[in-house]
Symmetry: C2
Subunit: 211 residues, 2 copies
Amino acid sequence: MPAPPRKRRPYAARMPVAERKQQILDAALQVVVERGHGKVTMDTVAEEAGVTKPVVYSVFDSRAHLLAALLKRERDAAVAQVVDALDAAHVDIARTPPDQLLADVSRVYLNGVAAAPYRWRCILFAVDGAPEELRAAIDEARELLRGLLGSLLTSLVARQPEPPAVDIDILSHSLVAFAEMAGRLLLDHPDRYDVDRLVRSATTLVRLVEP
Amino acid sequence: MPAPPRKRRPYAARMPVAERKQQILDAALQVVVERGHGKVTMDTVAEEAGVTKPVVYSVFDSRAHLLAALLKRERDAAVAQVVDALDAAHVDIARTPPDQLLADVSRVYLNGVAAAPYRWRCILFAVDGAPEELRAAIDEARELLRGLLGSLLTSLVARQPEPPAVDIDILSHSLVAFAEMAGRLLLDHPDRYDVDRLVRSATTLVRLVEP
């Protein structure tokens, strides 16, 4: 009968690297949102993940790399969530009434916020001590989404029998501001501002492009 | 013939205390916006104001007191600017069409932003290293203005022959978000988004309460 393996690590179950990486990043996100960016260290992340520090170092060789990976993961996931919703809207633009379109996009976005509150809290609130890079990455993502929204609005307006005179540029800025505000309300007071109530309000905005 | 006064101070012209205080605070605001909150010291403020450090100490006995006074001055001035506009709108609510009312309020606010860009930059942007107290003070001011805007919207809606079904709470949140966004565009790209263009866009928002 063979002897049991000797080098078992008592504090961390074996895990494929990709899965381990996500576990560490999940823990780091938790530290960021609950305690602020300044509190993210290899120690606090290891503690939050319930692993030893060498396990953290086996995946990320420095705090800077860990934070950069976290920032990239959260921003990309958030953008993907919204881009998918906008893409789907573009596909359906010919056969969906504008108010239904806005309701659908808002609902996908707000359900996404509700499903990943830590991700969105990190993005929608000026989390204490957020590094300059995070703010720059958020600004960049906002510009990207605003461009996509602008092109959606342009199609929407062009489709009207009598295209209304709207300032698409400012309107897309306004919709992004509205989306951020709605996301914050949902995160801060989910009991008061649920997804349905916020979607209902969003659809009234459609009167701007379809008077 | 009397001798000339002996104790003339070479670096700072005599000035009444109240005026000196404003001069020091103006310099501090400049340091905050141009270099960040972390760079505000009795030294940098003295240098910016073109006075000696003892002159700064003659008005504020510590950096903390100076920053607190600055924060209070800027927030109160910003709130007063907007409250005055909203008050005037309340007075005129019975005889001014809603779109004109919104145009008037937006114009007063945006002209205020354009006239005091440093004040509003300090409030509308997450200035690097802004202390927690500043953010708390801004949140408080935002809540106050949102309440006033809500009461204005309530009067406006009640006045309609057929009052539309709008969510005043979310609409007032939306208008504050719009106002902040418009102020940021004006500060960042005054050549592209001037007051007139932003006011025109704001008035299209009135269709929300007057369909």
